[in-house]
């Protein structure tokens, strides 16, 4: 039997190769470089790889190709998602590299393997060691995301899902302070995540059984050539959707979200909340639009239900939160619902609105968590909202920046959040799902209440003794914060150039 290796367009996948190579080197640095030089080398590597990858993505801007035997699709949506993932990763990595906010060091435990509260842990902290294992993990996670959005067959998509997940489980457990919560969150994320992955794999098997192929294009062909629908296909689609929907954190796969948002180191939350969502939506879009576009009448109702449940439940549960990180977690669940409203439209407008929403949300998220990481008291981050009373008077600029993000998330005009919501609603009405818009409007109002509540606490309450202070960050966080504010406002006031860009990157290659 002759085996012909598939031809690979190395330039098209070079953005991923660069990240992969850097990740491998990064592991070697961890193993062989002296401790004192590691941080410097790792940061050089991470930023170098991300920026190189971004440049390569831009150089690939007009590439539209299926490569590696049709399992990798480099097309408009893939490049767009890859580009935004890399840009947001750069900002998120900036948050992670921050060292000036916490007087002891960065946001990560000096030695993750040391038991919390043990003598070993105390010694490592005293010596001021900074652990650098987080950097290779970050690179692998980014690699997984880049692959996730361009994966064009079920197996590669599963591999990408795992490459994203495993590093993130670890990174979740790495918080320097409140380590038990952090480790609990990591375990919860891991157990639920593995469960979701298993669903995905089972679904892949069922769809393979139905169509005899794992390739999206071939699955789509089989679907269009078979006259009647098969129950195996429908169950398979449902199970496949669990994987990305879990990563998205949509109801009913949302239980991990508030715990992980609360427990994980804040910079990691900022990084992954922004990037993983883009990756997961990118993958879900390709899966549903390319492979299962022919049976969209079957999966649309599922998305409708998931979207409505996420919007309503996320908003209502966010109302009663007293911890800012948990609040943002639930708020994300609601936002995921809004994005799914656009996705459910299964039209070019739906695609456009989903892309715009998830990208603009990514920037607002990085900025929000940049602010959260800066608000501190003597025990580290002051995430309890009571400690935020009167913050607007003590640090008006930081509080104003957060207010812009919150108003954006609430969907007030002249912010990116408003344009996002608008696009999503237009897509839904055009697709005949006006009732979903009504649910969205009601959920928006509930959501506005808790976003506004944070603004009320910051600006209208008097500072108390508990009120936290805002640490002065280094350039890393400042740049991330400033860039997020700028993008949130510019996308709100002048969305046209980005909309043009999205239109150019509109077509999935099949």
């Amino acid at each position: 039997m002759n085996f012909t290796p598939p031809s690979i367009d190395y330039f098209a996948i070079s953005p991923m190769i660069v990240i992969f190579a850097a990740a491998v080197v990064s592991v070697l640095v961890e193993a062989f470089a002296p401790r004192s030089t590691r941080r410097f080398l790792q940061l050089l590597l991470v930023f170098g790889a991300l920026i190189t990858s971004l440049v390569l993505i831009i150089l690939n801007a007009s590439t539209r190709t299926l490569t590696a035997g049709g399992s990798v699709a480099i097309d408009g949506p893939a490049l767009l998602f890859q580009g935004s993932i890399v840009i947001l990763a750069i900002l998120g990595v900036g948050l992670m590299a921050e060292r000036s906010i916490d007087p002891v060091g960065d946001a990560f435990a000096s030695r993750v393997s040391a038991l919390p509260g043990s003598e070993e842990e105390r010694q490592f902290t005293q010596r001021g060691y900074l652990q650098t294992e987080v950097w290779p993990l970050t690179l692998f996670a980014v690699l997984g995301m880049l692959l996730f959005v361009s994966a064009n067959d079920l197996l590669l998509m599963f591999v990408a899902l795992e490459v994203i997940s495993l590093p993130l489980y670890l990174m979740t457990g790495m918080a320097r302070r409140r380590r038990l919560i952090s480790q609990e969150a990591a375990l919860k994320y891991f157990l639920l995540g593995v469960f979701a992955s298993a669903f995905f794999l089972y679904g892949a098997a069922l769809v393979y059984g139905y169509s005899g192929s794992i390739n999206f294009s071939e699955i789509a062909q089989t679907i269009s050539s078979k006259p009647s629908e098969s129950i195996i296909l429908l169950i398979g689609i449902g199970m496949l959707m669990v994987g990305p929907l879990f990563k998205i954190g949509a109801v009913p796969f949302h239980q991990w979200v508030p715990d992980v948002y609360q427990g994980a180191p804040t910079p990691v939350v900022g990084f992954m909340a922004a990037t993983v969502k883009i990756a997961a939506f990118g993958a879900l879009l390709r899966l549903l639009y390319v492979a299962f576009g022919g049976v969209r009448w079957d999966w649309e109702p599922i998305i409708w239900i998931v979207a409505s449940a996420s919007m309503i439940l996320g908003s209502i549960l966010a109302l009663v939160q007293t911890d800012i990180k948990r609040l943002l977690g639930y708020s994300w669940i609601a936002q995921a619902g809004f994005i799914l409203v656009g996705l459910a439209a299964a039209s070019p407008a739906g695609l456009q609105s989903t892309k715009f929403y998830v990208i603009s949300y990514g920037f607002a998220t990085v900025g929000t968590f940049a602010v959260v990481s800066m608000v501190r008291d003597s025990n580290g981050e002051a995430t309890n909202l009571a400690a935020w009373a009167g913050l607007g008077r003590k640090s008006p600029i930081v509080a104003a920046a957060l207010s812009i993000f919150l108003l954006g998330l609430a969907g007030i005009p002249l912010t990116s959040g408003f344009v996002s919501k608008f696009l999503v609603f237009v897509a839904a009405v055009e697709a005949g799902a006006a009732w979903l818009v009504i649910i969205g409007v009601v959920a928006s109002l509930i959501a506005a209440f808790f976003y506004v509540r944070v603004i009320v606490i910051m600006f209208f309450s008097k500072p108390t003794e508990q009120t936290a202070v805002v640490a002065v960050p280094s350039a890393f966080t400042t740049v991330a914060l400033a860039a997020s504010v700028a993008v949130t406002v510019i996308l709100g006031v002048m969305p046209q150039p980005v909309l043009d860009l999205l239109t150019n990157a509109d077509v999935f290659i099949r």
């Binding site: 009167g390 008077r393 108003l407 609430a410 969907g411 007030i412 005009p413 002249l414 408003f418 344009v419 919501k421 608008f422 696009l423 609603f425 237009v426 009405v429 055009e430 006006a434 818009v437 009504i438 969205g440 409007v441 928006s444 109002l445 506005a448 209440f449 506004v452 509540r453 009320v456 600006f459 209208f460 309450s461 008097k462 969305p495 046209q496 909309l499 043009d500 239109t503």
Partner: protein
Amino acid sequence: MSAFPWLTTLGVLPLLGSIVVALLPSSKPLLAKQVALAVSFVVLGGTIAMALQFNGSSTEPFQFVESYPWIPALGISYSVGVDGIGLVLVALAATLVPVTILAGWRDIEEDQEAGGSVKGYFALILVLEALMIGVFVATDVFLFYVFFEVMLVPIYFMIGKYGGPQRSYAAVKFLLFSLLGGLFMLAAMVGLYVVSARQLGTGTFDFLTLVNLDIDPNTQKMLFLGFFFAFAIKAPLWPFHTWLPDAAAQGKPGTSVLLIGVLDKVGTFGMIRYLLPIFPAASDFYAPVVIGMALIGIFYGAYIALNAQDMKRLFAYSSMSHFGFITLGIFVFTSSGGTGSVVYMVAHGLSTAALFLTAGFLMSRRRESALISDYGGVNKTAPVLAGFFLFAALSSLALPGLVSFVGEFLVLLGAFERYIWVGALATLGIVITAAYMLRVYQKTMTGPLNPSLDAGGIKMTDLKGREITALVPIAALSIVLGFYPAPLLNVINPAVERTLQFVSVAEVDSSLSSEGSEQ
């Protein structure tokens, strides 16, 4: 006509002014006020200069038009222009802002410990002015919506940071009510966009294009509700009014003036500008319901005002009653009703300003108490204050010779032309207005001096020069326009007539009105 971008300039000026004010050092509050006042006068001057060039007999729907693409992918453009209705409301905003700044000169100084800085308040007023002008001149529905929503942010901070003890509650209540309306309007706007996209191929938000769409009546009825909900909350119409008394009672007098005097007019402005022309069939369909709500509002507001213990709440409920009149005038679809409504909007802005400002001056002399029972016999020691208070009350109850009378008379005339019994009922409302307004005057100003007004360091002194300066222009305008309303009517009437052409039942002649009475 010159191609000078009047409207953009008028909008940008206060915005720039607010940035300048915000950047001034906090240690110089006086300078911040002076700059804010100067900017507001420049805007007023600009508005007058523009109004003088306005061609009342022009057949163009909008004048001083500017249009630039903004988000062409969604058919959104930056398009502005004014008709007579927009012009008078812009003029109202431009007039009330300097008055408010002048009247609030000292209000904020005493408030610094509550956290808001002096310059912050005046910067917010200027931001608000820019947005108020924007909302009245926008001729793109999307642009209108943006101004409509963003306007909430400065007023939210003005109530929440500078208001009374319950300010945070009032501010959030105000914001949530307004957002609720805004979001339903957003949903309806999306629907309108999709309808336009289906009919024209590409969607648009251009007002003049939208009015020429042929929307089927059932769709109209749904979309109408979304817009109407937002406007009814804003105006506010019964039963969407509950946020108003709280916001008015907690805000500074200046905040209340801008909120009720100008901002709430956006609701009634929206009805006449957007609902009637874009959804004529639905407007006709819902008119009985809206008129019913307006009538209930007239009496409900007046009834509560009759029993109110708190002056600010009394004025808020009285405004609610007046908004009933304004809405009534719009939805009877007669030329005199519509014109009367717009005149009434202006008149109500002026009388509200007079009421809240005199009450504010009064309250500042007695530790900010708004309780009517805390006052009495003020005219003994402060006759000028009492005089202005009486004037404000008379203006509110539409004494002939004042501009509010012109508005109210035209609205009632319009109502009679269409449904006699509606007109008759509404006329009763006037009587109650007279009752509660005179009652509050009598209780606070006449009789023996309330002992608490001359004890514990409280002195009921008369108005000072600055305070009189703020009130005189309002009074003068009310009287001048009351005796000589022609300039106002000439500007407003053509715009109203044009609007009513869309509602096919435009002018009802006398023979029809008797039929209408039997309905």
